[in-house]
Amino acid sequence: MNIQGKRNIWKDYQKEIATNRYFYVRSCVRQNFFPGSEKAFLRILKDELSRDVYENASHTTCSGIGYHSDIIPFETAMTMVARQFALMTESGYENFTTSCITSFGLYSEILETWHHFPEVEERIREHLLRATGRTFKKPANLSHASDVIFKFRKEIAEKAKHRLINRKTGNPLKVVEHIGCHYSKMFPSKGIGGAEYPYVLVGMIEEWGGEVIDYPERRHCCGFGFRQYLVKANRGYSLACSKKKFESMAPYKPDFILTNCPGCPMFLDRWQYALSEMEGITYGENGFGIPVLTYEELAGLVLGYDPWDLGLQVHQVTVDPLLDKLGVDYDPSAKFTGKNGIDLGKPEPPSFLKFYQNE
């Protein structure tokens, strides 16, 4: 990757990220598909970095997926977000950190709207008070959880059990980074590194020893498109977007894809399976797919966490070949077990996409 021009751009897009006392809100998608990632985020912040992170049990969705699939009015979404701010205020926190990129984009959009239209903020305050009796302060600092991991990337590197180096060849692992569209495409100044060349994941990859791949469709959307995935008849849109990215990145032979949005890793993982079933195509080495990781999963692997504690067994594209490259010590027989080693059977192997290592 030609880096100099990008470093100049990154200098212009710096962002303040709080160093402690975070009010954490969960993600609709990440909880369902990557629960181990939210668990790992809290473990890293609390156990490794001794940070104060608080979760209020009364918080809920921000309604962002409903808002961007247009069943939820803007007025409602703003009041749902105001309620989250009220819970933060009542809990005695002022640094708001969200697990979800759709949420992060929506919070940013709402705070900008209130900045430009103070009368809208006043109206929302009245709505919230009438509906719930609550009042709120706006956050002093708003971050996405990937911003926080970026902030502590050097501390994580100091504790690393594994670097992003291929153990067999000694070369850096080649990584495709994919940023969720709503992280900074609407408000470039809200994201580390801006919108065209975001630095948030690049910074982690570089700090932990990997090499970033620059490829033509790097900034293209994964294809979620909200209604374009939620309704089965529209899913061709979603699949076509992901396929465009795979075709563009595959010639560079990435060892894995790293993501910061909860939805993107699910689509980039599942659509590789769907494409293999539909067209017999696979994009990784030896009939496997290209593994897709969340930044929490990657940070956890770097810190030496057990891959099955991180939830890597619930990926459709198997990650085992990547674990071998990293030199992770793992127990293949424990992969599909429940708590205390209970046998839960095994997923069926797909028709074309290689899933089990020793087949």
Partner: protein
């Protein structure tokens, strides 16, 4: 200025999203939807700049406004600071308010989203809930999700979730009083009214299309709008 255009100008997203468009087409060039569907955000902004109600009404009844994925890639690139993706959100809101959404195949799908994501927010506090992501409605989720779906409690427990239990944590049960607050927010801010309109107009359309319609997801109309493509929407290569 017509009635519909006036309504649009009352939406802050419209005010923020349309300053002055020079019709350069940069938004269309960057747009993932324009690559897949017969769709050009440039044309939509062009129509809006006419302020012409007849053209706007046709737009609100068309397939066109439902093709956008709201990725907002257009917002970054517009040289004049417009936000076509934001204009789409204003148009879709107005299409539903006026009941025009049922006049297009893609617009009619709003019922499916309301009955899934919309109801899930009210009942579970989140837009998605794992037991409701049925493998048969989601074949693309593959055999790992099918395995996970069959062993949901055990796997969520293994991964440290607080699935269906009280207190904080992953996929916890949201307390009744918090769900009641969401409902009151929906009543106060227009979501309840929008949901009722989606239901009312969809029922009318189902009758017009001579299809069975009830409150479940297992009726002819729901299955049709969720699964079927009635005509070719794809961009000609």
């Amino acid at each position: 200025m017509g009635r519909l255009f006036k309504k649009l100008t009352q939406d802050v997203r419209f005010i923020e999203g349309l300053k002055a468009c020079l019709n350069c087409g940069t938004c269309t060039a960057i747009c993932p939807a324009a690559e897949f569907y017969d769709y050009q955000p440039r044309k939509i902004v062009d129509i809006l700049q006419t302020h012409d109600d007849d053209q706007i009404e046709a737009l609100l009844k068309s397939e066109t406004i439902w093709y956008c994925g709201e990725c907002m890639s257009c917002v970054t690139r517009c040289p004049r600071g417009n936000a076509p993706g934001l204009l789409i959100t204003a148009l879709r809101s107005l299409s539903q308010e006026m009941g025009f959404f049922i006049e297009s195949e893609k617009g009619r799908q709003q019922l499916a989203i309301k009955r899934t994501v919309g109801e899930w927010i009210l009942n579970y506090g989140y837009c998605l809930y794992p037991s409701l992501i049925q493998p048969e409605m989601h074949p693309e989720q593959g055999p790992v999700w099918e395995w996970e779906h069959h062993n949901l409690s055990e796997i969520m427990d293994r991964l440290g979730a607080n699935y269906q239990k009280t207190g904080p944590g992953i996929l916890r049960k949201i307390p009744r009083e918090d769900l009641d607050e969401i409902k009151r927010i929906f009543d106060e801010t227009g979501a309840t009214e929008r949901f009722a309109k989606i239901e009312e107009f969809s029922k009318k359309k189902a009758h017009e299309m001579n299809m069975d319609f009830d409150e479940s997801m297992d009726n002819e109309y729901f299955k049709h709008i969720y699964n079927k493509t009635e005509k070719d929407h794809i961009r000609e290569k």
